[in-house]
Amino acid sequence: MSDKRILIVEDEKMTARLLVYRLKALGYDVTHIENGNDALEWTLRERPDLLILDVMLPGLSGFEILEKLQESGELANGKLDVIMLTTKNRSEDISRGFNLGAMEYISKPFKMDEFLLRLNRLVETSDS
């Protein structure tokens, strides 16, 4: 069981619900928000441990959220881990995500086992 708090920012409802279901089953404390602006506000207020961030969102995009978090210093010193989740897997997008502080980049369609493996590995790394 993990006491980590995870925010899923994803506007595709069923994908988000599936992620919430699977992550809750692993013991994570999971919240889901569909809108980029609300997600940024919630992150700054609640300070989750991990952000699963779609790129294309209503309101602020995933990249814009990362920029704002970088400006506010939330991404410094590994305070917040970020996984980018998107249908775009072009190299420019991936490098942009990494440059802005994302630690993992998972492109849709994804295998759930692989997704959970990478997420758990990221959580373990930030714990150690």
Partner: protein, 374 residues
């Protein structure tokens, strides 16, 4: 004095009363239909909520398929269920995608969409075609119908049927449909490229022949420049480097004063992506002289891709172009060429403050290597 005392007044009263009654009936009918639609929508919403939890449990392997199958018995159930599961198809792979496929293929849903193929609305037919395109398999006997549907009707229905053929058709069926769709002028650029890309997923050994077909079409006189531009873009999207000599030959024959800029723009973008430095002299000429601002924009951007020091003077000139998009691309390209200090460059098109904003904006773009096309 009486209210009605002539025949004419009786007739008039009758007409007015009749019209009033008709209006009342129409209002009642509209309200009835609206109420019914509202009830159907509420029912669908309720069903979507009921199904979504079960679908998530099933996809996760925590619920048997029969649990959902037993609850879906009517048309409205199948529609609601498909609305729930369709978006998941874009997100899932592996085991979860296999489970999703089994759910989508249950007989009730399949039969519902089979009937929809013959619906009066082409839009409904298109939805049905796309459903079959997403299934893992389709009986051989059903495929000719989709070939036929791809050759007639609205662009949307044709495209949806063509997608089904690209997924399930035989090689000959795929070729036949692809050739027709490439030549069909009403198909949008994205849809055309999409079909070409889907075709090539078939396998390397098969798509060589199709690439030759696309190249022949680009060189032929049968297609408009706009359609040819789409095919050039498709070759670029597929990174089909074998087409480079053909593209260079076509590029050298392009009329810089042609009637439409699309083909010139597509050629510039794809050849720059392929790193064809042979086009640099023409790029410099077109960047300066083309009467189409789209071509000057593409040339300015491509000059940045090559990062040649010989282009610096020209790009500095291009930041004075009357079109802001050219100024922007030229500035962005200058920012990408090593050794160029943008603060030493000025633009007569923009005032100093706007120029400062622009240079500040384009500078970080150069940090990510190749820029996205605007």
């Amino acid at each position: 004095m009486t209210w009605i005392d002539t025949t004419a007044e009786w007739i008039l009263t009758g007409i007015v009363s009749g019209l009033g009654l008709l209006t009342l009936l129409s209002v009642a009918l509209v309200l009835g239909v609206r109420y019914r639609l509202h009830r159907i929508e509420s029912r669908k919403k309720e069903l979507r909520n009921q199904f979504s939890d079960r679908v998530i449990q099933y996809i996760s392997g925590d619920l048997p398929l029969e649990e959902i199958q037993n609850r879906a018995r009517r048309k409205i159930d199948y529609i609601s269920l498909m609305e729930v599961i369709a978006p998941l198809g874009n997100s899932l792979d592996g085991e979860e995608e296999d489970r999703l496929q089994s759910l989508m293929a249950i007989e009730g849903i399949r039969s519902h969409y089979r009937h929809r193929l013959y619906h009066g609305s082409m839009n409904e037919q298109a939805k049905a075609c796309l459903y079959f395109a997403r299934l893992e398999s389709l009986p051989e006997s059903a495929r000719p119908l989709f070939v036929q549907l791809a050759n007639e009707g609205t662009p949307h229905r044709r495209y949806a049927a063509a997608q089904t053929v690209m997924v399930h058709g035989s090689l000959d069926q795929k070729k036949e449909v692809l050739h027709q769709m490439v030549r069909y002028p009403l198909l949008s650029s994205m849809a055309t490229i999409d079909l070409v890309i889907n075709f090539t997923r078939f396998g390397e050994e098969y798509h060589q022949e199709e690439m030759i077909f696309l190249m022949d079409e680009i060189c032929s006189d049968d297609l408009s420049d706009e359609r040819k531009a789409l095919l050039v873009q498709a070759l670029g999207e597929l990174s089909y480097f074998h087409s480079l000599p053909m593209l260079l030959t076509c590029f050298s024959k392009l009329d810089p004063d042609g009637t439409h800029p699309d083909l010139q723009v597509a050629m510039i973008q794809v050849l720059a992506d392929f790193g064809a430095e042979e086009i640099l002299p023409d790029l410099r000429k077109w960047g300066l002289n083309s009467r189409f601002s789209e071509v000057r924009v593409a040339a300015a951007s491509a000059l940045g891709d090559f990062q040649s020091n010989h282009s610096v003077a020209l790009l500095k000139w291009m930041v004075n172009d009357p079109d802001f998009r050219v100024v922007r691309e030229a500035a962005a390209s200058l920012a990408r060429i090593p050794g160029v200090d943008l603060s030493q460059v000025t633009s007569h098109t923009l005032d100093p403050e706007e120029w400062d904003d622009l240079t500040g904006e384009v500078q970080p773009e150069s940090d990510n290597g190749k820029r996205e096309r605007t």
